[in-house]
Each structure stands twice: as structure tokens, then as C-alpha cells.
Amino acid sequence: MDLNFTSSELAFRDEVRAFLDTKLPKRLSEMVRNGQRLSKADQEEWHAILNEKGWLANHWPKEHGGTGWTAVEKFIFENECALAHAPRVLPFGLSMLGPVLIKYGNDQQKSYWLPRILNGQDWWCQGYSEPGAGSDLAALKTTAVRDGDDYIINGQKTWTTQGQHANMIFCLVRTSKEGKKQEGISFILVDMTTPGIEVRPIKTIDGGFEVNEVFFSDVRVPAENLVGEENKGWTCAKYLLTYERTNIAGVGFSVAALEKLKAIAADQQANEGRLIDDPQFAARLAKVEIELENMKTTNLRVIAAVAGGGVPGAESSMLKVKGTEIRQEITSLTRRAVGSYALPYNPPAFEEGFNGPHIGPDYAAPTAKSYFNNRKLSIFGGSNEIQKNIISKMILGL
């Protein structure tokens, strides 16, 4: 039993750190650190930097332009990126569609679409959830009807993250109403510039726009855009959802956020002395720090099991539930830490290059927004309730 990284893993970590040190633009990391909104161009800039280094597709095998990293290397990379406040790599093309195409796509699809994900020609979004099909994804109603060499798509998708920036969407659509509800589903790629598609942004409670509704009215899509067999899309869907997610616990994000929280608590004054020394606050802080220390090891254990040939499956549900609880608790304490300065709502402070007067301490502005925005963590990507159903069935056998 050895909790330390091997020397080659340590060397890799140093390489990642050196890369981030020199290549991650200060402009971007400052925005991330300050909780500011990244534009599409900002995100594309970071993707391009990673792609230049060959590190963009860290979930793909080498032959398709991926890194071919081990689970441990992937973890180290994602963790270091979070600690360095690098922008998040958007998962839709790289972590979701890419692996599905590699496993289920035909040669033509692979050779056409994969390079376009890497070089940024396509910005993908995900067409899974529908208003009546959230946790119960297989209840989806959007239809694709074969018409010659095309499918005609009608229906509605929702909670499409970053869909407003996307030119492509991968969708689950119903191609048959026979059999079990899982059986008539197909996986298809849709160009969002096709006539009949309308994207409507959904404003979220924090005042931001990250998610969208996507409406399809007689949208004509070439049948060659079908991935895998017709009516077998559920296989792709499940593969995508359970696809190894080394960073689902978000440990790196939590470590970075906890550091920031501690700095805030050391700056804030409580009744007697610093907030960080206030007994109730110190206890809250210590509890989440201990949870996080434990979670670091839980996460590494799951990764080690994967590296040893295991498949995470239900274990990633465990990481999801606890990891998001920890992240949410840290954002909650950060909001709590700033006292009445959680109240001001000052959108200009969320934008790059904000120079106006800060309201209260400069770290206060994004705290409430971030707290409310991060309520999504336990809802999206398979709600924590769904994860508990999975744990209950897959691990406990209930």
C-alpha cells in the first residue's frame, strides 16, 4: 500500500505543472480564479493551446489524436489544471461524443468528426434531456422518421449546456415506438444550422445563461449522421453516461476553492478575531477539509482500481455524490464567509477586465452567484438521487 505517486507519475505531474506555468494565459486563469464569465473565444483559446501540445483529448487513444494516458495521468492532469485555475475543457465533444464515435462510429465518421473536435472547427453540445425525460431519460419523445436518405426530426431537448455557442449537437431520438422504451432510440449527429432548429437560452436562478432549450421542427438530417445502428442508440447513450470520468469528484476544484475560502476566512473579521478562528466557522471548515482529504484518497482508490483493469461504473456514482456535496459545501461556506456582502448583485464584476469599484472586499462579488449556480452540480449529469439508485442496485444489490 503506497499512497505516493511513482517517480514517473511525479515526473508527469511536474511536466503538467511546467506546461501550465508557461502556457496557461494569466488572463484566463485570473478570470477563472475570480469567478468571471468566460466567452466562447476564451474557451476556444484554451482548447487550442491544449491541442497544440497534444493534450486536448485526454480520454482518447493515441491513434485518434488522444493522449493515451493512464487513469492516474488523466487524474493528475485534470487535478493540476483545476489547481492552476485553468478553464474547464468542455466535455461535450471531447469526453462524451469522442469516445462514442471511437467505439461505435464508422471509419468515415471517425476520420471526419474527430479531427474537427480537436482543431475546434466544431463546438458540440448534448441533446439528451427533454422536458418529460430527465432522470427517466429513456422516456424521450423527440422523433426521427426516415425519409429517403434523411431523417426528419421533431421534438425538443432541454438543459443543453453551452448550446448557444454550438454548431453541432448529438441527439438521442426515437426511431421506433415498439418494444421497451429503451429499444427504439437512436444516436444521431445534427448540424445546428439546419433549418427548423431554434435555440432558446434558459436563464438560471443565478442570473446566468449556460443552458438552453433546443426545438426541432421538421429538421432534415442525413442518415449518414446516424452513429451505430438504428434503434440501438441506448447502447451509445449508456456508454457515454458511464464512460470513465476520472474527475467526476472534482477534487481539484474543491482544493482550489477551499484554499480561496481559507484566505477569505482569514481576511474576514468575526466577533472576536478572525473568522477562520471563530469556533463554529472553524468547525465547518475543518469538517469539509477532512471530507476532502478523505475524498482525495477515495478518488485515487477508484482510479487505481480502473488502472488495475477494473471498471468504475457504480463507483463513479459514489464520487459524484460525495464530490458534489463537498464542492457545494465549500461554495456555501464561501458565501457564508462574506457576511452581508453576499447580498450585492453586481454583474459587471463577473466580466473580464472589471475595473469598477468593488462592493465590499474584491472576493465577495461571485460568492452568492457561485453558490446558487453550483446547486446544479447535484442535479445535472445524473442527479445525486439517480446516483444513489445506481449505488443501491449495482453495489448493494437492493
Binding site: 468575526a270 450585492p344 452568492a368
Partner: protein
């Protein structure tokens, strides 16, 4: 022991409840709450006409209420409707200060507040005071003509539109002393306040106020020099009852919205309200809300009590309970809704935001738990019920 409201209060509650139901949609509420002034002046006039503001003052001050249970009845209804108009800072805190300590000339303003023709606000808390009542760094130095004020006040609600602002300042003693705090009444039209104003997360407007060698006349002083602490404790106590009752109303509404949602929302072919895990979580929410209701009743009943420890412990207990339960209910009702709970379009998220933000006003749960413990140290270990 009688838990029924008096007829007057019941009538007021019914009137207010109907008015709010008729006047507000979530869209119009959000529009007013996030507007350049943070509320609807038109509705404010109507509240005045309905007598809702008068219910927050006693007869001596031209009102017809002003007791803990009057505040509770009004604010529970305001909470249910997510009302963003300036009841708390204007009527309870600023108006309450004038009622408690103002001279006749100053008290005359209360009539305008009740009539809705003028508003006041309360500038006590400071950038570094967190929730402390006694930590006042702003200074007031006596001059021949009056006072010179220097310092900064944090998150002063509705300062943009306030006709008056009540400012606390230290006239003697150390930064953290109870003694030596004084209160001043400023007419915003005649003094040159430096204000950086903004909207707030759960609706309503506020601002940072900087006092830079601001001179005010002798008659700006409210009450006795250096003796403001007890006045502050009194009005903030009333503010706590009001906020706690508001939170209760917000929780009730959030609970009802969530019950309605899970009765209709289907997943896996059945309403999600049929899933036992959600049922038990909703039952927990219901139980916690009933405990909050009791905490509000205890606080409202305690507000007029002479015994400081008993009164302030009941107030801190209520604010702690509201903070603790409020966060839980905000998070649970969003979570139980799922994705749609994150949508701005639904009322729920706005209720959740208000619930969480109430914990950031007049002391959060940690602050009040600590205060409850400190106050308890003066008691013998044996307490009677």
C-alpha cells in the same frame, strides 16, 4: 394559552394575503425587485393605503399594532408573496428607531412613513462589523454647530430612494464598546452622501455609503449621546421577528410549490411524489417548517418581554432556526425540483434565494447560535419551562 390570532390581525392577514395574491405575478415582482430602485413605488402607496405600514407601529406613533405578533402576521404574508418593498429597513428598523428614541420633531416623520409618502433607511452595519451590533468604527465628533461624521456603512437597503437615513456613529469609547454609540437622522436631500448603489441577489436595492467629513446639525442626534446600543438592540430585535416571519412565509410557499410540482411531474411513469425517498424528505421539510413557525411564535411573544436574556435568547433562537432550516429548505426544494428548480422562470428559485439571503441579514445562524450560547452563560444551569 391561545394560538388564535386576534380578529384584527386575522382581518389584516386576509386583506394583505388577497392583495398580494392579486397584485403580484413572479414576473412583475422580479421586474420591480430588479429595477433601478428595487421595488414598486406604486405598490408601496397601495400598501400604505391598506394600512399595512401602520400595522407595524403602535398607537402612540400613529399606528395600530407594532407588537411582535403584528410584525409576524404582516411579514409572514410578505414572505409568502416574496414582496420586495422596503418594509424592513424603512418601517421596522428606521421607523422603529424613531419611535423608540426620536424626539417629537423626529417622530413626526413616522406619520409620513406610515402614509407611504416618505421612506427612511437604516445605516448601522459597516464593512468590518459583520453582524455585530456594537462594533462601530464610524465616528461623530461634536463641533460648535453639530457633528462631523466619518466612516463607511455597508449594504444600506434602498438608500437610493430613501428620504431619510439613520446613521450610527461612535461618539466615545473603543470600536467594540457597547457604550459610546450615537444615532443621527440625516435628510438625504440636504446632505451630500457618497453612495455606490446596486441591486441585490434576492431583489431590492442597496448601497455602500461613505461619510467623509459630513457635517450635520445638532438636532440630527437621535436620543441620548452614546446610549444608542439598547435602541439598536430593540429595533434589530423587531427586525429579527420580521425577518423570521418573512422566512416562514417564504418556506411555506416553497414547500407548497414543491408539493404541487412533485404531484404532477412524472418520471418512470409515475408522479415523482410517489417515490418514498422524496416523500420522506418532504415530511422532514414539513416538520422543520412547523418548528420554524414555533420559533417565530416564541420570538414574537418574547419581543415585548422585559427580561433581556429571555427576550434576546428567543430572538437568537429564532434567527438561528430560520438560518439553519432556511438553507436546508432552499437546497432541498431546488434539488427535489431537479433541473427546472434552477430556472429563473419558475418562482421557486427566487424563493430559495430570498431564504438563503435572509441568513445574511441581521446575523446568520452561526452568529445567533454563538449569541444564544453567550446569553445562556448568565443563566443558572437549571431552567424552568
Amino acid at each position: 394559552m391561545d394560538f388564535n390570532l386576534t380578529d384584527d390581525r386575522r382581518m389584516l392577514a386576509d386583506t394583505l394575503s388577497r392583495f398580494i395574491q392579486d397584485q403580484y405575478t413572479i414576473e412583475s415582482r422580479n421586474e420591480a425587485a430588479n429595477s433601478a430602485i428595487g421595488y414598486s413605488q406604486d405598490l408601496w402607496s397601495q400598501y400604505a393605503e391598506l394600512g399595512v405600514i401602520g400595522a407595524l407601529f403602535d398607537e402612540e406613533n400613529g399606528g395600530f399594532g407594532g407588537k411582535g405578533f403584528d410584525l409576524a402576521v404582516v411579514f409572514e404574508n410578505l414572505g409568502r408573496g416574496l414582496v420586495c418593498e422596503p418594509f424592513l429597513d424603512n418601517a421596522i428598523l428606521a421607523g422603529g428607531t424613531l419611535a423608540a428614541a426620536g424626539n417629537d420633531a423626529q417622530k413626526a416623520i413616522i406619520e409620513d412613513i406610515i402614509a407611504g409618502s416618505k421612506t427612511a433607511t437604516f445605516a448601522h452595519f459597516e464593512p468590518r462589523s459583520r453582524y455585530s451590533l456594537q462594533k462601530v468604527e464610524t465616528t461623530a465628533v461634536a463641533t460648535d454647530d453639530g457633528w462631523t461624521l466619518n466612516g463607511a456603512k455597508a449594504v444600506v437597503r434602498f438608500i437610493d430612494t430613501a428620504d431619510y437615513v439613520i446613521v450610527s456613529a461612535r461618539t466615545s469609547n473603543g470600536v467594540n464598546d457597547k457604550d459610546g454609540i450615537s444615532l443621527f437622522l440625516l435628510d438625504t436631500a440636504s446632505v451630500n452622501l457618497n453612495v455606490n448603489s446596486y441591486n441585490t441577489v434576492a431583489g431590492g436595492r442597496a448601497g455602500e455609503v461613505t461619510l467623509n467629513n459630513l457635517t450635520v446639525s445638532k438636532d440630527a442626534l437621535i436620543g441620548e449621546v452614546g446610549q444608542a446600543h439598547d435602541v439598536l438592540e430593540k429595533v434589530v430585535g423587531a427586525g429579527i421577528v420580521a425577518l423570521c416571519a418573512e422566512a416562514l412565509g417564504v418556506m411555506e410557499a416553497a414547500k407548497e410549490q414543491t408539493v404541487d410540482y412533485i404531484q404532477t411531474r412524472k418520471q418512470f411513469g409515475v408522479p415523482i411524489g410517489k417515490f418514498q425517498a422524496l416523500q420522506h424528505r418532504m415530511a422532514d421539510i414539513l416538520i422543520e417548517i412547523e418548528q420554524v413557525r414555533s420559533a417565530v411564535i416564541n420570538a414574537a411573544a418574547a419581543l415585548e418581554k422585559e427580561d433581556r436574556v429571555e427576550r434576546e435568547r428567543a430572538l437568537s433562537a429564532a434567527k438561528y432556526t430560520v438560518g439553519h432550516v432556511g438553507q436546508k429548505i432552499a437546497e432541498e426544494t431546488i434539488q427535489i425540483h431537479g433541473g427546472i428548480g434552477m430556472a429563473w422562470e419558475l418562482p421557486l428559485g427566487h424563493y430559495a434565494k430570498r431564504l438563503v439571503m435572509i441568513d445574511h441579514e441581521l446575523g446568520d445562524e452561526d452568529y445567533h447560535l454563538g449569541r444564544y450560547i453567550s446569553l445562556g452563560k448568565t443563566l443558572s444551569p437549571t431552567s424552568d419551562q
